[in-house]
Symmetry: C2
Subunit: 138 residues, 2 copies
């Protein structure tokens, strides 16, 4: 049973078959699916689920802080259930594989006060790009 689903249940969510399958699809490590990929996998488990419901459910999970949106791809947003451990992403420029990574130190401290222009900074998003071992071999 999905850990994510447990957390959502604890927030007074009405539990529907649709929300259950979306949560199931998002379960696991290094999961960074687009909304359409989530929909495709959800349909395999619950054929009548609609695109609108997938978008709604993902949006609600994001609002609740249980899922994060990542923009590693310049096309569709990706949805990441690893919302409770801060991390960054490593993306293969060839095949699109995405891995969670944990840089040493806080990336925020790399930005000196003189480069903050009076902003109150609350968040930093880092995307490393390169070529993964299997693409390099081929």
């Amino acid at each position: 049973m999905s850990d994510l689903l447990e957390r959502l249940r604890g927030r007074g969510w009405r539990m529907t078959a649709q929300r259950r399958v979306v949560a199931e699809v998002l379960d696991g490590d290094h999961v960074h699916l687009t909304a359409d990929e989530v929909h495709a996998r959800a349909v395999a488990k619950l054929p009548e689920i609609s695109r609108a419901t997938v978008y709604n459910t993902l949006g609600e999970m994001v609002s609740l802080g249980e899922v994060i949106e990542v923009a590693t791809d310049k096309r569709a947003k990706r949805y990441d259930p690893n919302a409770h451990r801060p991390h960054q992403h490593l993306v293969c420029a060839r095949c699109g594989a995405i891995r969670d990574v944990h840089p040493s130190g806080n990336p925020l401290t790399d930005l000196p006060d003189s480069e903050r222009f009076g902003f109150t900074i609350s968040d930093v998003e880092v995307t490393y790009r390169g070529v993964c071992p299997s693409c390099a071999a081929a």
Copy 2:
């Protein structure tokens, strides 16, 4: 006259009114416009310029390395003429203002070998998010 335009001229580009206008629109500091914003400003100078030409011209400038695409926004790509000085971005979460910033040190060195999973990393994109001084005052 645009510095960007001078560099493009030196590459044997056929100089057309459309390309001139797109280059003029992108001239300046802290410029990070979407393709449609570029089109709107270009139309003000050259009413018959088409959307397709703006997309084509931006794509060519990116291929030549004279403009970079940035994904600070999770919707449209933004086009940045500051392609020759490596930098990162600071974005206001309220009004969307974008500033160029220069973090101390190389963000690549923050990622230890043990977190590289055999990838050959060539690039890193960092987006700092927060609230700008004018939005904080309001």
